[in-house]
Subunit: 389 residues, 2 copies
Amino acid sequence: MFRKTRLYTPGPTPLLPAAQFAMAAADIHHRTAEFRALYTRVLAQLKEFVGTENDVLMLSCSGTGAMEASVSNLTSPGDRVLVLSGGKFGERWVALAKAFGCVVDLVSVPYGETFDLEVVKAAVKPDTKAVYLQGTETSTAVRHDVQEIAAAVRAVQPEILVVVDAITGLGTTHFDVDAWGVDVLIGGSQKAVMIPPGLAYLSVSDRAWAAMDASKNPRYYFDLRKERKNAKNGESAYTPAVALIAGLGAALDYIAGQAGGNLAEGRKLLVDNAERCAAMTRAGLVALGFTLFAPTAPAAAATAVAVPEGLDSSAVVKEVKARFGAVIANGQGEMKGKIFRIAHLGFFDYMDTIALLGALELVAKDTLKLPVKFGQGVAAAQEVFANSK
Amino acid sequence: MFRKTRLYTPGPTPLLPAAQFAMAAADIHHRTAEFRALYTRVLAQLKEFVGTENDVLMLSCSGTGAMEASVSNLTSPGDRVLVLSGGKFGERWVALAKAFGCVVDLVSVPYGETFDLEVVKAAVKPDTKAVYLQGTETSTAVRHDVQEIAAAVRAVQPEILVVVDAITGLGTTHFDVDAWGVDVLIGGSQKAVMIPPGLAYLSVSDRAWAAMDASKNPRYYFDLRKERKNAKNGESAYTPAVALIAGLGAALDYIAGQAGGNLAEGRKLLVDNAERCAAMTRAGLVALGFTLFAPTAPAAAATAVAVPEGLDSSAVVKEVKARFGAVIANGQGEMKGKIFRIAHLGFFDYMDTIALLGALELVAKDTLKLPVKFGQGVAAAQEVFANSK
């Protein structure tokens, strides 16, 4: 039988057709009035999408580039920072902070868990300059409570900068950047906004701008002050990924269009959509006898699923691809072979969710030899759908 | 929740991405060496795909244009022809033959049925010039036995021309044009070959070419002799649908690629694929309590399903679209409101099939109020899949 390629990975995610068409049509020069109009419009949309009064900037790089920018622009060698790590991307904060000479205090939890607020508070020192964390940890599909963590660290050190990697979090969980006092919130293109990798974006608070001039770190491509200055004139500092920007505009139009043109409401629907797909998927997998890997703080961006002891999740990933053309994600780092991950962020719908469960039922039965009854995972997902409004 | 648009209609069918890319790139002029190379290549592929030693020509028109060509080129006003009709497209043969002044003998069966060979034979007169029929009748999803019918009519009148509308049949059922003595076999682009509407193609036997010179019908755009002459030079008589031809080439490459580059074998796999999707769908729908509309001679191109007495199939079509974004087909003509139709021809796979059954289960329960148990249609389809090699 034919096997269509279908991404169920937490980045890259399935592309929105309207964004693909906009990308294909994007043969415009980046130092023209036409581009300036596009860039200005997309930056304004993005600000509405992030939901903040802070500046929102775009960078032509992957999310890690924006993570680096939020270290290199905000710290100086020798500065003390706190990193909260519960997975591969938490570990990336540690590596980045060390690369720029920071003194790193680390609160680390095992993969699949989130942080104890008292432990976090105890780790904040009087000279802690910034705290770096994930909104959702992609490698474990765990959601961290940014609101509570921000409040907790500020209760100890009011001037601390709060920097959130929301690359998989934006559009899959609720953030209130301004009310929660998030100084930098980072997003990426290949996630809930349904376009390919290559663009990152971040919101920057006044407190973060003030810290930037004091930074003694070398920075050039990721100098956010330069980007802000250029953005005011509708341009990027360096050659931008024009097609991706056109695609992002089309995707944000689509998201707004789901809520009568209101991007803030559209983002809520995007979160609801991910939550619905996640709830269906989880009910289906539990009905098939799988164990959810992170049941206490699950992120709607993705579901991480443990395979029974002694079995290999790599076989599930491989067979779903080989038999059905669908791409799901293995565990990362120490979780490889132990869990598999299914994305819900961005352009997924009811039929995508049912189709994947229908494929997983066969793989669970034939590859993992689980006592699966055909249709039982699908039925559990349908119950969730039918019982939600 | 998001609702992706998904076609499950027996033409147009889901587009093959590689064909879409080829169409987007097709900005070439049709009176150039570049186009002549493309056209010559695609005509050769098409001949292999149809599986014949006869000439194969392309026309820039819908399938009906090629049906017209096979009436206007082969008959003269006053000629006696036999039409075998079991649905809307059989009726189209009648209308076409009458439009060109033929004397029409009609063997007609109720929608959902196929022909009795003895009745067909009895309808052939000594002066019957040609017989017109469908390979598969799209409006009822019935397969007619072209091999047996061709042999039966030839047993009565050896010189009769056999003209087969295989628009939904090609790539969904087996044809042996040369061995069965099919004089004209017609295909269309928006069917099993996975590209949009706008191209038709047809094979033409020596017997048909011989009949053409005798025809006194007026014809210009559809003059097949002109097309054959031009095709020998790698050109079409009139401006061709260049992008569709490029797309068709890419689609035939894909079909061949499924069988190591062999188009004849690729076509068999395409038929197998449709049959597998059809068998899964039928098992699923029967498990949900539906009645197959044409159980005696079902075409793999599509499945026609009767809704229980007193219910309206239009509601199913409407709700599947409104709730899930998927487009299935209503009955046509007198079958509207009584049946719905689900396509299997072309670019459909296991996950498409499961996803649609998952959607139909909800609609059967909520809209038709059938006593559906979630997952039971999906499970029946999975059994079929698991038990097929």
